[in-house]
């Protein structure tokens, strides 16, 4: 699972290629080893809670082809995307305000941090009471999971902006608004993006948790249902799928991050 560039500065293309291949090899070697251990242990102990990987993979295919998991997945991902976008909008707005204005920071900092440590599921009954058994419940759980880490990172990024750059802008007559848009936000951008990556991870968690414990819909709802039936193979199949999904999303965001912050020293 590597997305690193073919060569870094000062490296010959050949050396870069060797490093690239080696990274892939190491990455895949780790995965293959883990898969082998799983398969062997699963075959040897023959316990219902640890089916061999091969059975899990076969079940995963079955769930998607005949088990109707695809529809659940589409619904889950739609809620994930919507929830994350809402968290992004709120998180950036509140985070930027907290970063720019000391009084907003002082007013909100304690609560934002408190919410970061509070498990979002605590609010499940309340959300359920408000939105009922609907997509809105799932979406709001995703928002609660993702929004606070985005706020905290954005606020920290804006507050840590490079002082000399602010002075430079002031000395050339930039207004406060101009300084925010031309200096503060671009300078804070790499840290903000790093916060978004963490936010995406938490959003996936929120989606699955919300589905499992509140709404019993989507991919998480399916996992909960199989769990109640002690169908461990299906639970494993869904877990492995979610992990793979997380890896793909993480790689995607990391790649975006690298592309958009190539100017960072």
């Amino acid at each position: 699972m590597t997305m690193s560039a073919l060569s870094t500065a000062g490296e010959s293309p050949a050396a870069g290629l060797v490093r690239f291949v080696r990274n892939i090899a190491v990455n895949w070697a780790g995965m293959v080893a883990l898969a082998l251990i799983w398969e062997i242990v699963g075959q040897l102990i023959r316990q219902p809670w640890l089916p061999p990987l091969s059975e899990v993979l076969v079940r995963m295919v079955a769930l998607f082809t005949t088990g109707g998991l695809s529809q659940h997945l589409v619904a889950s991902l739609a809620s994930l995307a919507l929830g994350f976008l809402i968290a992004l909008a709120i998180g950036l707005a509140v985070g930027i305000l907290m970063g720019l204005f000391n009084w907003v920071y002082t007013a909100l900092d304690v609560y934002v941090n408190a919410m970061l440590f509070t498990p979002g599921l605590i609010f499940a009954p309340i959300l359920f009471a408000i939105f009922g058994l609907s997509d809105a419940t799932r979406v709001s759980v995703v928002v609660i999971y993702a929004v606070f880490i985005i706020i905290i990172n954005t606020a920290a990024a804006v507050r840590n902006v490079d002082r000399p750059l602010i002075e430079m802008a002031a000395s050339y007559g930039a207004s406060r608004t101009t300084t925010v848009f031309r200096i503060v936000l671009p300078d804070a951008f790499p840290l903000i993006i790093a916060g978004l990556r963490m936010g995406v991870g938490r959003a996936v968690k929120g989606m699955v948790n919300g589905e499992m414990f509140i709404a019993l819909i989507g991919i998480g709802g399916q996992a909960a249902r199989y769990g109640k039936q002690f169908d461990f193979t299906s639970v494993w199949a869904i877990s492995v799928f979610i992990m793979a999904l997380a890896v793909v999303i993480n790689q995607l965001v990391t790649w975006l991050e690298k592309r958009m912050t190539a100017w960072v020293d």
Partner: protein, 259 residues
């Protein structure tokens, strides 16, 4: 007729929970048009504070500063600053960095890019217009900082230990470049440094300051012929004499403080 006039300026820094620091104490200074003035002194002597006050980045607690006859109230269009840390926007190209000041002054895109390209060529960076700051060496980065300050064509250039972060060799090269550029394109320069040789080499007038509280100890006229060749100037007996004099004065001030 002086272009910069500093009268009875005192400045106290108030840091919360700590004793106030007297950065400048009753400073008076007149700087003439197109004069090259260096502010020399040990760290903590208030030389940078004085420069920042002239540039309007600091408002002194007492006294007045006038630039071009107008009292300074915040950053103004008569001064452009070159910063010690370069203060380049790392996400912006050389060209975009150099046009920043013009853009803030409302100059149109075509005009500001044309002027910026000329300034970039002037500081010897032709061909680097589209590079990012991280692709340049420290000396080249400060050339960008210098071009950004030159291009807004202010009558006054304020330079805050601009070569302090550079290695010895690069610093010498930058001093030569600055002398060359200033010779072609004269303006008033206030140059902050703690390097005695640099102070003498560049200046028409060395303003020697001492620490705690920041005061002007002495103002020395430097009359070496221009254009100056640093190598030649440094071999002159007058240069050595002047350097020794400055060194003595700095040490006196230091011992006085230590006592």
């Amino acid at each position: 007729m002086s272009i910069i006039s500093v009268s009875n300026v005192t400045h106290q820094y108030a840091v919360e929970g700590r004793e106030k620091t007297l950065a400048l104490s009753d400073v008076n200074l007149e700087i003439g048009k197109n004069e090259f003035v260096t502010l020399l002194g040990p760290s903590g002597c208030g030389k940078t504070t004085l420069m920042r006050a002239i540039g309007g980045l600091v408002t002194p607690t007492e006294g007045t500063i006038t630039v071009n006859g107008k009292p300074v109230r915040g950053p103004n269009q008569d001064c452009a600053i070159v910063f010690q840390s370069f203060a380049l926007m790392p996400w912006a190209s050389v060209l975009q960095n150099v046009t920043f000041g013009l853009e803030m002054r409302g100059v149109g895109k075509a005009e500001r890019e044309e002027k910026a390209r000329a300034a970039i060529a002037q500081v010897g960076l032709k061909g680097f217009e589209n590079k990012l700051p991280k692709e340049l060496s420290g000396g080249m980065q400060q050339r960008v900082g210098l071009a950004r300050a030159l291009v807004v064509s202010t009558p006054i250039l304020l330079m805050d230990e601009p070569f302090g972060a550079l290695d010895q060799q690069t610093r010498r090269y930058m001093q030569e470049e600055l002398l060359r550029i200033w010779q072609q394109d004269q303006r008033t320069v206030v140059f902050v440094t703690h390097d005695m040789e640099e102070a003498i080499l560049l200046a028409d007038k060395v303003v020697l300051m001492s620490a705690r509280p920041g005061r002007i100890e002495e103002v020395i006229d430097v009359t070496f012929e221009r254009p100056r060749d640093p190598e030649a100037v440094e071999r002159l007996p007058e240069f050595v004499e002047l350097k020794e004099h400055l060194w003595r004065r700095l040490r006196q001030a230091h011992e006085l403080n230590a006592a």
